[in-house]
Symmetry: D2
Subunit: 367 residues, 4 copies
């Protein structure tokens, strides 16, 4: 019996452990993916710290991953109805079992809120099988939506989950040609939001974040100006934005911080009749206080929560990554690589904002 | 020299005084309106109490009014380019001088936020002339947009400013056929929002408000169920809504209360991926605290501030009022009439929520 | 072995035959529906005449149907995840197997264009089983989306497939409060479009169609005025519309005729910057000629093809039918009932526009 | 008295004449513009040939122009309310007197269809004063909306009127990240549509046009592939598009040709549920025939006429031109310069598609 090395989060607050589990038999329609790269993102830190509800510990983390199809049981079709072959380099939508049969999917057309959806590496646990990417191999269950990767997997994985998330946020913000966009946050989602806003024709993108290395990355991918939150309080930041927007505020603000008060800052930094997209509150970090009259109603503001992303975002993210020109900005972001054995270091580096992007590379030898 | 009786708010917190001022000569393009009905609404109470910024006291209140054109200097054209005649029964858009030449008007296309706009009875004061409707007559300045009234003026004025405001809110909420709509607030805007939501095809409208007489009015105009805020705390209200919406919350919630915390309640009572329209925070009543994760981001919610209304809403409001069938629900709302001399009583009754709708009738004899 | 009576269209141009086929065993997740009512609509005439592509004759017609669940193999869940029970009165979405896995479903989000979708009574044939409603019983395959019917099934079936179709068209036309809507065609879709436009707040609906009895029905369900095509040529019709719309044309026109030239008439009868929805060209009736400069570009017009409907429309159609108030207009439409044996008569009556609505009632005794 | 040289089109079909007219006195609010560059576009050829309705010959052509403010009578304010000064380099919206008081402006919110709008160089004639740009100087009437130009005027004028027109078309087509866009036509609007589509994030732009030099320009500004209409009939072009779009057709097609049959080609080359923008039918070139079933209804297609552009497009066009990076693609387009004396040559070159872009430079010495 062949064994697969997997990194396991045993429970809330406990460090990741390396284990070996037997490679399972595949059910019809399933496939075995030899993982080449898997992502470490803020969600994984929240998983480690137990800040997400409904996580079936123990779990194998790693929701967005890329690798080669090692075995396919039966037929696995792509969007056009053509079969995948063993050896194909693919990634897959981490959201599985959006049901297309419930009120959210069919009436509200809000599939990211489908109550039956399951996410590899987050709401699928070890009990569900090899269902996370921090592993030598994982199992793609029947119905998993795969996409071929053109070019080296790094090109897609450096954006990783931040790319469809940012794409969703930028579209929900209806960023258009000539807009001035403010991005709050300079982590992976914030950096991708800068790139994608410019891709939609924004005239200028401002970024407020920290630390210095990430703001440098923000400028490297095209931000016109950056402001360091460690050096500017709320009023100074607001003044900084107004100075750069004829006193009006940004046309669109994309919040990608995780800090509740940033949502209120976003409202204040946005012009009247502008749009605020809230994409950074994936875990509960507490309450924030705002003034409904001045911050919302009188401003005739649109504030839009943006949860997850769906296949349309993922599909286009992969298409962007396949384009050497369009994907170039991400190649300017430093990505740190960690073998499976160093998963805990990866989590610590991400939690401390010491790296811009962290990738698990199961094939690399441990230190 | 002919004199005109006007009701004047001398300044913040002072009672309304009756004065007589000379009837002015008309500049070219202006008209004199013999006022038949003028509205008393929550904004007038806020004016009296000094809760609005930028009011040029002393002012003649009365923004939405109806009457007959007594004199026209030169030509006054309607939307189709046809002239109005003396004796025509008209109403007019209370917003004047939206400039069509600034960034808000032309680039953001957000004319309700045009910095040059002036509102009769609110941001035009006595120094600007007979610029409010609580008077025997008022002057419509050149460029004022008038509309003929078909049928008795009461039919339009019973809705009054609440009708275009509600129309704007309901459209901004994109209420559609089959939706369940929750209206927070049972004042004139809330009641009109119930009627207009049903006019757009809502399957059911729930209303949370007070006092009992207004909730009775809410049911009379079509609310499927009402909940009295004096008898139910926030959690009870939320449970009441969930019970009536398959546990999901309303598709669209329209906030029309004036209470900051109602905005947060609106978010919580709305289903995932639903829409909240904030139309009740016209004055600053303080802050509210919410949870950006649970109330906004995870819900994938749209929260939309809705400020004022523009001519398109006003035009349709007048068209609705001209239709005996469409305007019928407003006729079920009790409207209290006050002569000019009793303007202070009208304000007190409105402030205390003792009446559903209050109208100033300058032609009526005072008590 | 129990036998089921079914009405079969053997092939293009051949009359319907009554046959008896054995009641099949149910696969897991399937259900047997005892049909109470099944619809006869223009599509069935097109099926008989062989004007639709890709029909797998022989077929059992009858796409929209209602009846009682006679047997369920395993579990059949509703939208909320609650089980249906044997004896429940239901209807079901006639579109089956929208795949939620192809480019149309997932990227374009245009499920009505999913290449894998199958429609009961149209693209499922006899070889696929009891897959049409003109039968004593039919089989709902696994994954069929069912909805409970409140109230008598006639209330839903009198609208039948025309109700979700019209709902889709009216929404695609973004009909709003105060709009003047022009409906071209007075068949079931046209009549439902009148009702649904008024339900969305249209100020007035004009209808151009024929024959007299259907125009009478149009007025009975709320059309403000009707024009008989047999008495008015294209120019006269245009003049008739302009007269009723301040010389501008309708805000929204919904084409529901089947005649290619009606699409051009629709463009000409709509105001500048208005919307035309094309919902009546379900079969190929040839070409039409228009002037792209005058009819489309200079008018800044939106012309929107509208194909089929999805579950969201169906769900709301059923909700409307469950509401005695909202569904009342349909009750004013005369519905003719035919036993299975008279299916050919039903088709002839529908083809000749002799009836407004035709329903197959398998339980009725034949003549 | 100072004299101004102007190029005049005396009437339909007659060649342009050079005349000298006295420099007029300015009314309050007006300004005199010393013209540096004025455009020659397809509309000017249509003007010469008498193919536009309502032109008040004789006229001074030249609608989009740039120059320096030589004299201002009174105050001329920018969008932010700051005064312009004599010597400022500006351009201006060629559409004047959009009334903001009619049904089109206020209810339909379709200002490009305002019946009172006047366009410099097109619907203003010589009788209206120095109202066209093919002149040493022109008069900007009160209410003309001016914008400062940063950088050399060539940068804006090389795009000229094609830039806001294309911007409007691309926005009306809702071009998004990852879309495949098909542009029909390779004249200035087509070329700008290619650039602007890429600016909105299109993954690939295909272009069908002629002659070879313009297709070379199309590739120079980013078209992924081009097809020469002189070498491919309609079916070949359709096959060419399908080959490059997985057999589906373009997500968005922008028609910018002037040929009626191109509108039908656009429908056929667009995918199901895609969008067609018709922006090339500015003059009447006759009828076209299409199949409403196959080309529109079954495709669930959106076909959108796009007339003119408004200030929001113009404002952003100027902002794009001010950005060295964003405006770079236009700098790759060859622009031919003509002194006033050679205006007829310019018209002939544009009519024969011999040049990509033609500019009148009044300050240049004639040949």
């Amino acid at each position: 019996m062949r064994m697969v090395r997997v990194a396991v989060m045993p429970g809330q607050g406990a460090p990741v452990e390396l284990r070996e589990v037997p490679e399972p038999a595949l059910e019809p329609g399933a496939a075995l993916l030899r993982v080449e790269l898997s992502e470490v993102c803020g969600t994984d830190v929240a998983l480690r710290d137990g800040r997400l509800a409904g996580v079936p510990y123990p779990i194998i983390p790693g929701h967005v991953s890329a690798g080669r199809l090692q075995a396919i049981r039966g037929t696995l079709l792509d969007l056009e109805g053509r079969p995948f072959h063993e050896g194909d380099l693919v990634t897959f939508l981490d959201v599985h079992r959006t049901c297309n049969a419930c009120w959210s999917c069919l009436v509200a057309k809000a599939s990211t809120r489908c109550p039956r959806r399951k996410v590899y590496g987050i709401t699928y646990g070890l009990a569900d099988g090899l269902a996370g990417g921090w592993a030598d191999a994982m199992v793609l269950k029947p119905g998993t939506l795969c996409l071929r990767l053109d070019g080296p997997p790094e090109r897609f994985m450096t954006g990783g989950c931040s790319l469809p998330t940012a794409l969703h946020a930028v579209e929900r913000g209806d960023v258009g040609i000539g807009d001035t966009v403010l991005v709050l946050g300079s982590g992976p989602v914030g950096l991708s939001a800068i790139i994608v806003s410019l891709m939609r024709g924004a005239a200028a993108v401002l970024c407020i974040g920290a630390p210095a290395a990430r703001l440098e990355a923000a400028r490297a991918v095209g931000a016109a100006a950056t402001c360091d939150i460690s050096e500017a309080d709320g009023e100074t930041r607001l003044a900084w934005v107004l100075e750069r927007t004829s006193g009006r505020g940004a046309d669109v603000t994309i919040e990608a911080t995780g800090a509740p008060e940033a949502v209120v800052q976003a409202m204040r930094c946005t012009r009247d009749a502008g749009r605020v997209v809230v994409a950074g509150q994936y875990a509960d970090h507490g309450d924030a206080s705002f003034n409904p009259h001045a911050d919302l109603n009188r401003k005739h503001l649109d504030v839009r929560g943006c949860w997850g992303s769906d296949f349309s975002h993922f599909h286009r993210a992969v298409r962007i990554a396949a384009d050497p020109e369009r994907s170039r900005p991400w190649s300017r972001l430093p990505a740190e690589r960690y073998p499976l054995e160093r998963a805990n270091h990866a989590l610590e580096d991400v939690a401390a904002h010491r790296v811009v992007k962290a990738l698990i590379v199961p094939g690399d030898a441990g230190a």
